[in-house]
């Protein structure tokens, strides 16, 4: 994979040297290049966390907003200008913790955006607290007796909410990741990729261990029942691939409005005519 693409910039990274976040960045940059997109067409959106710093290291437009709030910002951007490829890069704390309500409802709403969650099962930037995907029993800063909550199953959640594209990738399988990202970007509607991203600063298991545990799935991703089974099966929690891809994509958010008014972008609309305003107020 190319380490220099037209999506490279030279903003120095704040990530730890060797962090797999760098690999995700590379896969995304290469994927975008292979899709023959230009930086101008791309808008990255993120919240706060290590994952959420990614937009700074990729040449493109970006909005790096508040912790947990990437999805509504991204939805707003896409609604205003559907020509932009809007990609969210977020972490498990950002997306499933603080941003849980937006995750839930954005899945229902189906904007045409790509959602990449760097899932390291930890709050890395704030120095090692449990996240919603931290396994039970792990001892973390605020859990001296071990985590007691059931971990979130975000993939199953996405599936039962009707998400059209649901995938699990690993930052350590960068070729595969790149291909899935490309497919996700091309998918019309919300495309969601949960990316296993071992943090090398706060987590014990080495990258090698994770690499050994993961395997590639080989089911038919159009089979919803299979997909749900995989997402719910603890034995398949390291299975990588497109878990589900609905071959009949549903209408995306905003489509109704845009079609109704034969519009391409909200951003080009003129202000209301004074006479219309006058008539409406008087008619009221």
């Amino acid at each position: 994979m190319k380490s220099k693409t037209k999506f490279s910039n030279n903003v120095p990274s704040q990530w730890c040297p060797g962090c797999p976040n760098h690999l995700i960045l590379k896969a995304l940059q290469n994927g975008l290049e292979e899709l023959e997109l230009t930086p101008q067409e791309v808008c990255l959106v993120s919240g706060i966390g290590q994952a959420a710093k990614l937009p700074h290291y990729l040449k493109g437009n970006f909005f790096n907003g508040l912790h947990g709030r990437a999805l509504p910002v991204a939805t707003g951007i896409k609604l205003a200008n559907p020509k932009l490829k809007v990609i969210v890069t977020t972490g498990d704390g950002d997306c499933y913790g603080e941003g849980g309500n937006h995750f839930l409802h954005t899945l229902r709403r189906n904007p045409d955006i790509t959602l990449l969650v760097h899932n390291n099962s930890i709050y890395a930037l704030t120095k090692g607290q449990a996240s919603p995907t931290t396994p039970k029993g792990e001892k973390r800063a605020l859990n001296p007796r071990g985590v007691e909550d059931e971990p979130l199953n975000p993939l199953a959640l996405a599936l039962i909410q009707g998400t059209g594209f649901v995938a699990r990738c690993s930052a350590l399988e960068i070729e595969h990741l790149k291909e899935v990202i490309k497919e996700a970007i091309n998918y019309p509607g919300l495309a969601y990729v949960d990316i296993l991203q071992p943090c090398i600063s706060w987590l014990k298991p080495s990258l090698e261990t994770l690499k050994k545990e993961t395997f590639f799935l080989s089911h038919d991703p159009q089979d919803f029942e299979q997909a749900l089974k995989i997402a719910l099966d603890p034995a398949q929690k390291w299975g990588l691939g497109i878990i589900y891809k609905n071959p009949w994509p549903k209408p995306v958010l905003g489509e109704g409005f845009y079609q109704h008014f034969s519009l391409e972008q909200l951003t080009h609309l003129p202000p209301l005519d004074l006479t219309i305003a006058q008539n409406l107020l008087k008619a009221h």
């Binding site: 909005f63 509504p72 107020l281």
Partner: protein, 560 residues
């Protein structure tokens, strides 16, 4: 007689609103100016609601404390609201009452008896009102026909029949009520939200996201219902945090955007207001106030969020806060809010309240051209290298949008450099970037209109007010002047940054506020180093009336 006031009282679900609005149409056709306001409980059916109409030949857009006519739809409501009637007033309702000139009449019983369904009580009441004021029945019948046009013939006919019946009852009664002379204009009426909505659309707004919350919901409802004309994309969000972030995303991408909510929802937006400040993403937030704290009195009115709104948001950044006084100002200040938000790239807050949201104001001349939409997007071809947060003397950096040109646009909630990238350079980048944002205040402050001054020169007492209390305060002042009291008014509709202004030195300054802690007085002390000690405050959830202001003014006079 200069005005006539009518109170319609009943319960939720009995149709007070539709009686009020249909009757307003009839009065409009007769060239009357009208003001109406209402108060209601937070429930869908039952409880006690009232709807108040003031009829005059010239617009007099403020509430009165008592009415000339009270029309009650049920006996409990009649009991509860009888105190609203003037001693000389006329009482129409299902119960006897010997203290007033009255007619015992149950519109519901009559409707059931004569038309087989108590639902037609409203038509009868409308007919009665039309009759007792000697207005033209045909105009009412036309209005009814229009309103029920899509309904079955039976329904239409029963409504018309009911109206005639009520009209007849009124004529048959020996009761008499005199209307003021009709006016010279075909007045039109509007509540607050449509004016705000049209101001927004006029300013180029094409995106609104919100989460329902009384009394703000009417704004997004209007924009949604008028989508055909306005082409504003409306989105009901999962919560208020999503709502403002949706608006910020859309605004960043290049469409003028807004949101609206009430105090509790505004509280949830506060972090994102700070985000708008940091990313310099323009957005307009309408805060329709109701009494707090917490859920408070959800359907009532207050001006209790003033200081909260002004200091909303962690960290330090410029924002602009308006407090329009009536629908005309809601229209104008909304345009100005968009203009300033997009010129200075910051959040603009418009304070309104349940009283402004639900009251009908009359107009015949409306200042449609007092504000015009202005656009400030930079021209991409001007830049060789584009920097979203370029340092400039004014603090305003040229604004481009993503996808608009080859220039890339980045926004960051962290402290950032000129390109929008996270910075840890404290003295070379972070500090000047903060100063850049605060610098905008200098020019911004010059754009803020000074307060309206009325009869300041010779005043011994000056009322200072803001927002929706304006017409009541002016009416009280006028009345006090007729009594020989040298009273003036200073009224603010633009509140932050505080405009440069010198207060008169020799008058006693009295703030008049719809809250309990004299927040305007506190704000003016803070901004103008005043030492305001007197306030006329009302905080029971109802709007201020000129009568009350007058009484409380007397109390203050007696104290000092």
């Amino acid at each position: 007689m200069k005005e006539l006031t009518i109170s319609l009282v009943g319960s939720a679900g009995e149709g007070l609103d539709s009686i009020g609005s249909l009757f307003s149409t009839v009065l409009a056709e007769h060239k009357y100016a009208l003001f109406s306001w209402k108060e209601y409980e937070s429930r869908v059916r039952g409880g006690f609601n009232s709807y108040h109409l003031k009829i005059s030949s010239q617009p007099q857009n403020y509430p009165r404390e008592q009415s000339d006519l009270l029309l009650a739809l049920n006996p409990e409501a009649q009991d509860k609201y009888t105190s609203l009637l003037k001693p000389s007033g006329l009482l129409i309702g299902p119960k006897e009452n010997s203290r007033f000139q009255s007619l015992v009449l149950s519109f519901k019983d009559l409707a059931k008896k004569e038309l087989g369904n108590s639902l037609y009580a409203n038509a009868i009441a409308l007919g009665f009102l039309t009759g007792i004021l000697k207005l033209k029945l045909e105009l009412l019948l036309e209005a009814l026909q229009k309103k029920f046009a899509t309904k079955s013939l039976a329904i239409i006919n029963n409504n018309l029949e009911g109206a005639r019946l009520g009209y007849g009852q009124a004529l048959d009664s020996s009761l008499n009520l005199t209307l003021p002379p009709s006016g010279e204009h075909n007045y039109f009426f509007t509540t607050g939200h449509p004016a705000t909505a049209l101001g927004a659309a006029r300013a180029g707004c094409h995106f609104m996201a919100a989460y329902p919350m009384t009394p703000s919901t009417g704004l997004i409802t209007y924009l949604s219902q008028k989508q055909e004309e306005l082409k504003v994309f409306t989105l009901q969000a999962e919560d208020e945090i999503a709502a403002i972030n949706l608006a910020l995303g859309a605004s960043f991408a290049g469409v003028r955007s807004m949101t609206a909510t009430s105090g509790g929802g505004f509280a949830l937006m506060v972090e994102s207001i700070s985000l708008a400040g940091m990313t310099e993403t323009p957005v307009v937030i309408v805060l329709a106030q109701r009494p707090g704290p917490a859920t408070g009195l959800p359907t009532r009115t207050a001006q209790g969020d003033l200081l909260f709104a002004i200091f909303a948001g962690h960290g330090e950044f410029p924002k602009v806060v308006f407090a329009p006084s009536d629908p005309e100002e809601l229209y104008l200040k909304t345009i100005k809010a968009f203009n300033l938000a997009y010129k200075y790239q910051l959040p603009a807050i418009i304070l309104t309240d349940q009283f402004l949201a639900d009251s009908n104001f009359s107009y015949w001349d409306f200042n449609w051209e007092g504000e015009t939409p202005q656009f400030f997007r930079a021209n991409p071809s001007e830049f060789k290298e584009y920097k979203r947060y370029q340092f400039t003397p004014s603090g305003i950096s040229p604004r481009l949008c993503p996808g608009q040109s080859v220039h890339l646009v980045g926004a960051d909630s962290d402290e950032h450099d000129e390109w929008g990238h996270i910075t840890e350079e404290l003295d070379k980048v972070a500090k000047p970037m903060l100063e850049k944002r605060l610098n905008k205040l200098k020019e911004l402050q010059k754009e803020i209109a000074p307060p309206l001054e009325v009869d300041i020169a010779d005043s011994k007492y000056i009322f200072i007010s803001f927002g929706s209390t304006k017409e009541s305060v002016l009416a009280a002042q006028k009345h006090l002047r007729t009594k020989g009291e040298k009273v003036g008014v200073i009224h603010f509709s633009e509140l932050w940054p505080l405009p440069s202004y010198s207060f008169p030195q020799n008058a006693l300054l009295i703030t008049v506020e719809n809250n309990a802690t004299a927040q305007l007085a506190k704000l003016l002390n803070l901004g103008y180093s005043l030492n305001l000690k007197h306030s006329i405050l009302k905080y029971n959830g109802l709007p201020l009336t000129p009568e009350e202001i007058g009484r409380k003014f007397d109390e203050i006079q007696n104290q000092i």
